[in-house]
Symmetry: C2
Subunit: 221 residues, 2 copies
């Protein structure tokens, strides 16, 4: 005669406290980031995320509407502290805004390099294509990016006020040039190729950019 020991049946389905719920939400986010980093956004199913976070898809659908919402949540995790760092730096009004900006750039790079989670999130947003279900976030995320651009512009405006810039130079073009350089630098750094080592070359590259190439001609005999 078969007997089943009912006490051995796992009762997995018990409600968690608010704090525990918050923890599972975070577990889902880090699990999602793990998956996205390894296989890309479009190649990970909600089931894989669930397994990585040691929950079920039910938990995911409880905390998030769908996969795109997880994507957006990760974006917020990266962008807000980033903006904060620039805003704090802008509070100091030094005598040489451009040198200050140079130091900020180096600081931002090192800050990114030291935080693996930030690196992975940023990599995610550099590589993803905002198409299909992600299209809804394209504009929002780009607007946020534009805001950080506007922040950089303030350094150049201060430099103009202090007459440290040639009046001919266009601050908009300056900001764009810097933005393009930083973007490309990050893109290359995040690409997975070991082409750029921030610890080793980060400062050199920033310095080289701020010095420009024409400078070199001065070495002519």
């Amino acid at each position: 005669m078969l007997s089943i020991n009912l006490t051995s049946v796992k009762l997995v389905n018990m409600r968690k406290t608010k704090e525990e719920a918050q923890k599972t939400k975070e577990k889902i986010l880090t699990g999602a980031l793990d998956c996205f980093s390894e296989q890309g956004y479009f190649n990970t199913s909600l089931d894989e995320i669930a397994k990585r976070a040691a929950v079920t898809r039910g938990a995911i659908y409880w905390h998030f509407k769908n996969k795109p919402e997880i994507f957006d949540a990760l974006h917020g995790l990266l962008h807000e502290p980033f903006i904060q760092l620039i805003l704090e730096d802008l509070e100091h009004d030094t005598e040489e805004p451009i040198s200050q900006l140079k130091l900020l750039c180096i600081k931002l790079l090192n800050n990114l390099d030291e935080n693996k989670t930030k690196t992975r999130i940023m990599k995610l947003f550099f590589e993803c294509d905002y198409s299909g279900h992600l299209a809804q976030f394209k504009k929002t995320h780009q607007d946020k990016k534009l805001n950080s651009l506007k922040l950089f512009e303030q350094y150049f405006e201060r430099a103009i006020q202090r007459k440290q810039l040639n009046p001919k130079t266009d601050p908009q073009i300056l900001t764009l040039t810097l933005h393009c350089f930083l973007k490309g630098l990050l893109f290359e750094y995040l690409s997975g190729l070991e082409l750029i080592n921030i610890k080793k070359d980060g400062t050199k590259l920033i310095n080289q950019f701020f010095e420009g190439l024409n400078q070199c001609h001065k070495a002519k005999p």
Copy 2:
């Protein structure tokens, strides 16, 4: 009694000549590019590509092994003429290699801006994440990129030979700096934001980069 007029049955299934087959292959590629540009690589099915190219999935599976192979074929279409342009330019050994390089950059940008197909293919490869089934091409495509980087380096080496560069400057860092800037510039240009207008600002941005930011300090009273 039912009668079927057999003469009215479309005989769609007729073999094409070699040239016609080549044309359908091209139709598939342009159809795929259309779809990828609009909805992204991962969000387009082979069926959508087939419809866009006015063929069936059968035709696609005849000409290509699968979707990743289409992706790779598009890459070849962009990269080869690009390399060719640089190689041709390198054949001219002018007296000011850095100015020559500057002009080449401007030329490359304008060349890209004038060819919508090239723009769309490049956009595709900037935005895609080489994960999942595309992982197999990551290394190959990156190696090709590294080769073009090596080509840029030659301009700086020539400048060194002509003693037009400060001996302190590291040509590797120079190449990397330029590469990062161009990459970021293209990235921003291709991002879909109208932040960068090549016709209007392309030359300005390149010039600004080659002049550098430190130059501006010379305007101090």
